[in-house]
């Protein structure tokens, strides 16, 4: 995995709360056996009309979506199913960080393992971001800080080991396999 230290980008805003993984990538697209190309189906039911044409009102179809790498969403983003296709679809579209006041557990874990930053912030910061779509934000993973164009800066919580792996491009499986002797000892002692 490529090291990930910093994301500087304009934001896209989807203000809805409780955006579940069925919205991020509907189940009918989960018959794939690879991780590739899911960005086309990201938010498919909000993004396309019944005839398959793009819904011009949806933020991902607007010109300003191009080149934006940060998604700001309402409370409790990523709830629902464990499908890792959700972060795969976001990453394939070009999203590198999601900001909300609350991010669901399984989605958060899946995101960290794929280089998508799940960032939780306080209500005031979230409120400002929701009110200012397209804001240029700076996410500094080394310092665990999010800086707004106003100059305001907040720290965000991020699990220490996942952060270490992201900063250094380390695959967690490599670390887990380095503990195989511990796992063998555990099995022998049961």
């Amino acid at each position: 995995m490529e090291p990930l230290k910093r994301v500087r980008s304009r934001t896209l805003v989807i203000a809805s709360s409780n955006i579940d993984t069925d919205q991020i990538i509907p189940a009918r697209f989960l018959t794939t056996t690879t991780k590739d190309g899911l960005g086309r189906q990201l938010f498919a039911d909000w993004r396309y009309r019944a005839d398959g044409s793009p819904n011009p009102d949806f933020v991902l179809n607007r010109p300003e979506a191009r080149g934006a790498h940060v998604l700001v969403a309402g409370r409790n983003f990523g709830c629902g199913s464990s499908r890792e296709h959700a972060p795969w679809a976001l990453l394939d579209f070009g999203i590198r960080a999601v900001i909300s006041t609350e991010i669901a557990d399984i989605f958060r874990g899946n995101s960290l393992k794929n280089g998508l930053l799940p960032i939780t912030v306080d209500d005031a910061t979230s409120g400002w971001l929701l009110d200012n779509p397209g804001a240029e934000v700076d996410i500094d993973l080394e310092r665990s800080r999010l800086t707004l164009p106003t100059g305001a800066s907040v720290s965000f919580p991020i699990e220490a080991f996942a952060r270490h792996c992201l900063l250094n491009g380390i695959d967690e499986l490599g670390y887990l396999r380095s503990r195989l002797s511990d796992i063998e000892r555990y099995e022998a002692a049961r």
Binding site: A15, S16, S17, N18, D20, D22, Q23, P26, A27, R28, L30, T31, T32, T33, T34, K35, D45, A50, G74, R75, N76, C79, G80, S81, S82, R83, E84, E102, A104, D105, I106, G109, N110, K113, N114, E159, A160, F161, H164, E172, L173, Y175, L176, R177, R179, L180, D182, I183, Y186, E187
Partner: protein, 464 residues
């Protein structure tokens, strides 16, 4: 003084967590299905790794598999090409890596969270994972069971372990007796309604109290199944004589002296008196009514006789009601129904079908209403046929199918059309969950069956 969760966690800690590193947690049982495993097997192949413990790995196919008998038993091919490919991929991966697979025509196939308990593979005190968020179901046996993503599926295949931070604990105390016609499904919907869809985030639930102790194993599985709908990755119930009676004699449960030894050990998996939880909620079961959702997440739920609240100006709330075609102030009772689905890992077990049969016996599905009844496993199917439930369903005009996830998530050909109202015993009423534009209302099997008969949302107590 430790909680049930603390005990199971401690018994599986290979390496304890530190500020810099998560714990290495050992996995006793890894369940696999066709949708969330292909990319994990690909990682193993690219690294040249074997499945480390095939003896602790069990695969089946349930999500993308069709439920029509002709397609399952190969008289006609699986209609969805991508689904057929996924099924073949799992067959190849299982053969190549030596993993036991209950394939399409296997008599033991079914929804992954239904088959493992009925085999007796799910046991108290275990750690169980699967690439599916409803893995929380197995917590009904006092196991620590939770859903994982596909990267983690690869981790478990390669090492039989996971990197995990220890979650917090949350006591869900449910005292009192459920009234007749009020079920485990209504109980868990009420819990989710009370604490909200993210109320359990970061926590593991333990369901406790006299109302929980009184539930059968099928009912306890319904409760634990929906823990994730309140944000909790896992929900547990301490094992007791109900648990042991269910497991005794199951194909993969311990036998003879090993059974006695196991049962004695399992009895220790209870929360010590005085152990402290990080959070708690109290529910009085005796006050509950049959519940029904009216919005687009399981926390938007009401007693069936109630009216939708009026929250004009709340954008998320308005959006949900627009999707559902409902208005603040509407009564739920009497609203028309197009499709009724009885099945899923939440309510696809024998007790659920028995409840549906109790209502449907001697009655007919209302004209114009489609009732789809899908057993949770082939074993449940055989039992329901032997008990005469299947005949009752067919006589009522229901469509009786082979097992699978079916209309719960509409990725296998079983879908609800745009705009239609689906009364469903499944677990998620998200937008589009049962088909693009489908409008899902979550209920118990009693309420689903009663509503199918009337063609309108119906309080099942008038038919019991």
């Amino acid at each position: 003084m430790r909680t049930l969760f603390d005990k199971v966690w401690a018994a599986h800690e290979v390496v304890a967590e530190t500020p810099d590193t998560p714990a290495v947690l050992y996995v006793d049982l890894h369940l696999i299905h066709e949708v969330t495993s292909p990319q994990a097997f690909s990682v193993l192949k690219s690294l040249g790794l074997p499945v480390r413990r095939p003896d602790r790995t069990l695969a089946t196919m349930d999500h993308s598999t069709p439920t029509s008998t002709d397609q399952v038993f190969g008289k006609v091919p699986i209609k969805v090409d991508a689904a057929a490919k996924q099924v073949r991929q799992l067959e190849q991966n299982a053969a190549e890596f030596g993993v036991e697979l209950f394939g399409m025509r296997d008599a033991r196939r079914g929804i992954v969270h239904v088959i493992s308990p009925e085999l007796g593979a799910t046991q108290p005190g275990m750690t169980i994972v699967c690439g599916d968020s409803h893995t929380s179901t197995h917590g009904a046996f006092g196991a620590l069971a939770f859903g994982i993503g596909t990267t983690e599926v690869g981790h478990v295949l390669a090492t039989q372990s996971l990197l995990q931070r220890k979650p917090k604990t949350f006591a869900v105390n449910v005292e009192g007796r459920l009234r007749p016609g009020v079920t485990a499904k209504d109980l868990i919907l009420a819990v989710i309604g009370k604490i909200g869809v993210s109320g359990g985030t970061g926590h593991v639930f333990e369901y406790r109290g006299s109302a929980i102790r009184a539930l059968s194993m099928d009912e306890r599985m319904t409760v634990c199944n929906m823990s994730i709908e309140a944000g909790a990755r896992a929900g547990m119930i301490a094992p007791d004589d109900t648990t042991f009676a269910y497991l005794e004699g199951k194909p993969r449960a311990p036998k003879g002296a090993a059974w006695d030894e196991a049962r004695a050990r399992w009895r220790t998996f209870v929360t010590d008196p005085g152990a402290v939880f990080d959070a708690s909620v109290d529910i009085d079961a005796s006050l509950l009514d049959p519940m029904i959702t009216y919005g687009t997440n399981p926390g938007m739920v009401l007693p069936i006789g109630a009216s939708i609240p009026d929250k004009a100006g709340d954008e998320a709330f308005d959006k949900a009601l627009r999707y559902m075609g409902f208005h603040g102030g509407d009564a739920m009772l009497g609203k028309p129904v197009d499709v009724v689905f009885i099945g899923s890992c939440t309510n696809g077990r024998l007790a659920d079908l028995q409840a549906a049969a109790r209502i449907l016996k001697g009655r007919k599905v209302a004209p114009g209403v489609r009732l789809l009844i899908v057993p949770g496993s082939q074993e449940v199917k055989r039992e329901a046929e032997a008990a005469g439930y299947a005949d009752i369903f067919k006589a009522a005009g229901a469509d009786w199918r082979e097992s699978g996830c079916s209309m719960c998530l509409g990725m296998n050909g079983d879908t609800v059309a745009a705009g239609q109202y689906s009364i469903s015993t499944s677990n998620r009423n998200f937008e589009g969950r049962q088909g693009v534009g489908a409008r899902t209302l979550l209920v118990s099997p009693f309420t689903a069956a009663a509503s199918a008969v009337n063609g309108r949302i119906t309080d099942p107590r008038e038919m019991l």
